[in-house]
């Protein structure tokens, strides 16, 4: 469903440039959820932004749903691929009501039966009809993220790109959103690409994952291997151990500073 070959993204030019993504390849099968995990600056979000057309400066070959990714992607692309961003406070228009937010993509894509579609998607993400004419500031963080998911779903995409969809939320709200994402994925047979720094979230939602460092994929593994602690690289292992909680012995061993 998603095929990425030798994807490279470079920011800036000349000596001060940064190779943010350095030859990344992976495939995501239809109906599969694939995770990209890594620490800040490893290039995981940059990949997502390239895949959804927000950053045209990439090289390599990307095909989504069988069609090569064009620059700019074009309207048909966004019917198939939608994105949910990290911060629901920044990704929603503060002066658009829930209704306006959801009607806009329908209008752009000339879809019919708009009223019914808005009502349905609101129910599906667990926001009742009472929320339809509210503004984002009248919603909690979790409700905003539900709205952001509704906005992505309303075009009935086949692929969902998720950039840290729960990292701005409290754990109890995170659980609600993660459940919502699993339900929607099952109901619609969506293919998902999930970017997160939180290995536990990736382990919960994904079938397979890639561990990234310095713009490269250092290893790909399935979630069973992750759960069994069967990582294949030193970096993958240290990331897993650090994610399991504080361990005095391990932490002391790793106390020496990294690069400044």
């Amino acid at each position: 469903m998603i095929a990425v070959q030798e994807l490279r993204v470079r920011f800036g030019q000349g000596a001060g440039s940064v190779q943010a993504v350095d030859g990344v390849s992976f495939d995501v099968a239809e109906g599969e959820t694939f995770g990209l995990v890594g620490e800040s600056g490893c290039g995981k979000s940059t990949i997502l932004r390239a895949l959804c057309g927000l950053n045209p400066a990439w090289t390599g070959a990307v095909a989504i749903a069988g069609a090569p990714l064009a620059r700019p992607p074009g309207r048909a692309f966004f019917r198939r691929v939608q994105m949910v961003f990290q911060d629901p406070y920044a990704s929603l228009h503060p002066r658009h009501t829930v209704n306006t937010t959801l009607m806009e993509p329908l209008a752009i894509h000339g879809m019919d039966d708009r009223d019914r579609r808005v009502a349905e998607v609101l129910l599906q993400v667990g926001l009742g009809p009472a929320f339809r004419y509210r503004y984002p500031h009248q919603l909690s963080g979790g409700q905003r993220q539900r709205l952001a998911i509704a906005r992505a779903l309303i075009l009935e995409p086949r692929v969902l790109l998720l950039d840290e969809p729960t990292s701005a939320l409290d754990v109890s709200v995170q659980a609600e959103i993660l459940n919502l994402l699993s339900d929607i994925r099952a109901a619609r047979g969506l293919t998902c690409l999930l970017v997160s720094h939180d290995l536990a979230v990736i382990a919960h939602l994904c079938d397979r994952l890639a561990v990234m460092q310095h713009g490269r994929i250092v290893e790909q593994l399935d979630v069973g291997m992750l759960a069994g602690g069967r990582t294949n690289t030193a970096y993958g292992t240290s990331l897993l151990q650090a994610s399991l909680g504080y361990d005095r012995r391990l932490a002391r061993a790793g106390i020496e500073e990294g690069p400044i």
Partner: protein
């Protein structure tokens, strides 16, 4: 541990006046901190940071703090004047903030900033520099002389947090209040910073109040955990025994966490009981 209590807080209340209403943010919180690592865990808005600030009397002007007793060693914090607090803040009780990028002065070299914490001690320039370099070594910075001359934008997040810890420890306080000290850091860097805090607590006999939203982290790092909900402490337990916590809120939080190696089709969703507000 509480027999050597350094900090004693009894029935602490913090109220904020807002144009709309009076917000009772902290409602009768009591606890002690000895020479140990005490975690305060709660979700956003539970009042955990407000407690940390109230101890140092850093509550914003629209807030009022009251407590039956609030003592630190021989100092009555509840009654202390602003002048008296100047001798407490930084010297006896220090605070580490979440994000070093916001808490460090961007136009001052790192070493000089740490040195500022040693002002008023009659140290010569050379002595002060030595002390600062010693502090940088204590937080495991490999090239202290080089880092001394860097500006905050030239250091990474983890390094910045080490610098802040060094600054807070320079005056040799007895209690450290760390408000989400590692939340802005990557997991592997987080472990390094925690290891440094852990080491300093055990070698210098510090008390550490560790404010965090991360239940897993606190359970594995601290000695004791206080769980806050809506301005109250709903449960207190040994960190190692957090898995046996009794309060439905604590149990609900634990159940809502996704865990590596324990795959569930659905996560449990916290059902909030209005009774928790009073329990």
């Amino acid at each position: 541990m509480s027999d050597t209590a350094q900090l004693l807080v009894d029935d602490l209340h913090v109220r904020f006046r807002t144009p709309q209403k009076l917000v009772h943010a902290v409602r009768g919180v009591s606890f002690t901190v000895g020479r140990e690592k005490v975690g305060i865990v709660g979700e956003s808005g539970s009042g955990k940071s407000t407690v940390g600030r109230a101890i140092l009397k850093l509550t914003p002007a629209n807030g009022t703090v009251s407590a039956a007793r609030m003592r630190f060693q021989d100092i009555d914090l509840a009654a202390a004047s602003e002048t008296a607090m100047l001798k407490v803040r930084g010297r006896r009780i220090s605070m580490i903030m979440q994000d070093p990028r916001h808490a460090l002065d961007p136009v001052m070299r790192v070493g000089e900033q740490i040195g500022e914490a040693l002002d008023g001690r009659g140290l010569s320039r050379a002595e002060r520099r030595e002390r600062v370099l010693g502090m940088l070594e204590a937080v495991h910075i490999r090239a202290p002389k080089r880092v001394y001359d860097l500006y905050p934008h030239e250091v990474s997040g983890g390094m910045g947090q080490r610098v802040m810890i060094a600054m807070m420890l320079a005056p040799e306080p007895d209690l450290l209040i760390a408000d989400e000290p590692t939340s802005a850091l990557d997991v592997t860097v987080r472990m390094q910073v925690l290891a440094i805090l852990d080491e300093l607590v055990s070698t210098r006999g510090l008390g550490l109040m560790f404010i965090s939203h991360d239940l897993n982290l606190v359970a594995s790092f601290c000695d004791r955990v206080l769980i806050m909900y809506a301005g109250r402490i709903v449960e207190e337990c040994r960190a190692a025994a957090l898995g046996e916590a009794q309060h439905p809120y604590t149990r609900g939080l634990l159940a809502s966490l996704p865990r590596i190696g324990e795959r569930r089709a659905r996560l449990e969703v916290l059902k909030r009981d209005p009774a928790w507000l009073e329990a």
